[in-house]
């Protein structure tokens, strides 16, 4: 006997595109006629893979196509993929909100799904009543909820409002209460969609902590969907990467996350990028990343000084143009944002001319990894001409520039050199 908790075999889900209306009835009748004669559904043979960007010929689309995977008991599987990759459809099938078109899902034990917090909350009912109602909707019995009631209230931090109708709650409080109910569910398998994206930072931390506790301490299987790669890496033991409705890869979380990020983002550039005009009044024409030797590159050594050169073009007269530069990590954590205005620098540019600006980073020590530059052009605090996310990707290599030993990412995003004194 193995310790599998969920097994998904050849799972597919087909959706019909467009409006349900004209033509539905004829398709239904045709389908029924085939079924009566014992023939296969004619619409199952057609359908295209789910690629949002290209316009397909068929009215039917496969949101998921031949998915196979297995989850062992106690594993926390992070399901990642771009929008439209089929993550939500997979969760819907697993949580029995809808049925698969073909294929099977086998599971051991109760599945509880948290695709949304506070499903079924009634605004007129008190917090107390809603805890019972929501708990029961999620599959708990009244006795179970009663035994955990005090803990739920404590976890939510809403003890004071427990006999007040939920409609008087702040949205944050509602979410906390709802998550608290879900946190005390005791299913063998828990399915969680991006519900952690709500609530304040403190509560998110609490929620992630609780989920970790559930999977590690109590041996439950958790399936977790998120776009927050930091949360996925923090929480999951395994990763599943979906793309256009198929499984691209399954395995070690860090590898899967890395693969996802590499698909998702532009390949490393040469250190030079050009951008389109798009009718803006002032816009970034190009950007160049230079290393300490003034060479254009996208690879920097650990601890190396570098500079970012912008060429800005204006279609109108701008008297006080202020460029902004920000750097994001590959996990989309903003390292810093800096505006030339902060240093009291602004540029005056005439209509139909350009200006070149260079920012030197002599003291910023980023840890090895991939980063991307974010650029913006502003005038004063009020007017924003242009903003480019992911403008240029660059990498800090493991190779040290000045005899210092680089540390891995777990020490933080930047390295600082404080002055230590006795």
């Amino acid at each position: 006997m193995s310790d599998s908790s969920i097994k998904v075999e050849n799972l597919s889900k087909q959706y019909r595109l467009g409006l349900v209306g004209t033509g539905t009835l004829t398709h239904d009748l045709n389908r029924w006629w085939h079924q009566v004669r014992g023939k296969e559904d004619p619409y199952l043979k057609i359908g295209e893979t789910n690629d949002r960007a290209t316009k397909g010929k068929s009215d039917y689309v496969w949101a998921l196509k031949d998915i196979n995977f297995e989850v062992k008991q106690g594993e926390v599987l992070g399901i990642i993929g771009k929008n439209g990759a089929g993550k939500s459809t997979l969760l819907k099938l697993l949580s029995r909100v809808t049925t698969p078109t073909t294929g099977e899902i086998k599971a051991k034990g109760r599945i509880a799904s948290l695709l949304e917090v506070g499903t079924g909350f009634h605004p007129e009912l008190t917090g107390r009543d809603n805890i019972y109602l929501n708990g029961a909707i999620l599959g708990m019995t009244k006795a179970e909820i009663k035994s955990k009631f005090d803990e739920i209230v404590e976890f939510s931090g809403a003890a004071r409002y427990i006999d007040t109708p939920v409609k008087r709650y702040s949205s944050g409080m509602r979410v906390r209460l709802a998550f608290a109910v879900a946190a005390y569910l005791e299913p063998e398998i828990l399915i969680v969609d991006e519900v952690l994206a709500v609530g304040d930072a403190e509560f998110q931390k609490k929620a992630i902590g609780k989920m970790k506790e559930v999977s590690k301490g109590e041996g439950r299987t958790v399936l977790f969907v998120s776009h927050n790669m930091a949360a996925v890496q923090n929480l999951c033991t395994h990763g599943l990467l979906l793309m256009n409705g198929t499984v691209l890869n399954i395995g070690n979380t860090n590898e899967i996350v890395k693969q996802y990020l590499s698909i998702n983002q532009k390949q490393l550039s040469t250190g030079y990028e050009e951008f389109e005009d798009e009718g803006k009044e002032a816009w970034v024409h190009s950007i160049t990343l230079k290393n300490s030797q003034k060479e254009t590159t996208s690879k920097l050594k650990f601890g190396e000084k570098f500079s970012v050169k912008l060429k800005v073009e204006c279609n109108i007269d701008v008297s006080n143009l202020e460029p902004l530069i920000a750097i994001d990590t590959s996990n989309e954590i903003r390292v810093f944002t800096s505006s030339s205005g902060e240093q009291g620098m602004s540029y005056s540019v005439k209509k139909d001319s350009s200006v070149e600006v260079e920012a030197f980073f002599d003291n910023l020590v980023l840890v090895p990894g991939e980063y991307s530059l974010v650029l913006a052009l502003r005038s004063g605090k009020t007017q924003q001409f242009d903003v480019i996310f992911n403008a240029l990707k660059f990498e800090i290599t493991e190779e040290a520039y000045i005899g210092v030993v680089p540390h891995n990412g777990s020490w933080g995003v930047i390295r600082v050199n404080p002055v230590w004194k006795f």
Partner: protein, 296 residues
Amino acid sequence: MQNSSAEIKSSRGFTHGEEDWTMVIKPQSSLFDLELKEVWRYRDLLLLFVRRDFVTFYKQTVLGPIWFFLQPVLTTIIFTFVFGNVAKLSTDGIPHVVFYLSGIVLWSYFAECINKTSTIFIANANIFGKVYFPRIIMPLSIVVSNMMKFGVQFLLFLAAWIYFITKGAGIEPNLYALLFPFLLFLMAGLGLGLGMIISSATTKYRDLTFLLTFGVQLAMYASPVIYPLSTLEGNIRLLILLNPMSAIIETFRYGFLGEGTFEWVYLGYSTLFCIIAMYMGTLIFNKVQRSFMDTV
């Protein structure tokens, strides 16, 4: 290329033999698989839904539960005035108030059941789309919570009934009044069964919702709510008897008020109608609930 990677993974999935899976999710399941065990496990949810309906009904109202009474009382007054005093329709010699009240209380239970049940998929799409529980809990909770409301209104009827008996208004109840629980069951079954059929159809084709409210209202006039069956003859009588609620209302009046038309055949027809409606309703509902989220 994507397909091949999926196939490689599949080999991992087939290394173990048959195991003791507790749940298998498949595209199609038997129509008769009602998952009664699941329904039983979620029985607390049913009660909590009933409680929710009951509590939220009069939240933030001054009169509170009195509203349960007000509706039938006002309708009875209007009916007594319009049909009794102006149109002077016969009531088989029964005092107008109890005659109309009995019809209204019974009919409104059936009408509420069918109206509420017929919109469950659309009205609860947000819950159904996010979480699983046996969907049949929802229509069941509607029938039960309306039964509570009916109970309150029935007390009102009993009060009026006792008042007129003590006044000696010629009301002679008989043993057929004991059929009442069975009649209640028939009404619940009819409302539930027909409501489930309609709600299943409305997930894809919304046209029926428009017809329904109108249809239910019309059906009331095609039932002995405002006139006794005894005043009708021939084809019209048969037509009215086709309405499964007719025999139920007549039987109720016969038992409690001593006047009315009672035939086992008529009640048998209603019973058969109810069983068929329940059967079809459950089957269709069970089929639709599995994937209605894709079409609603």
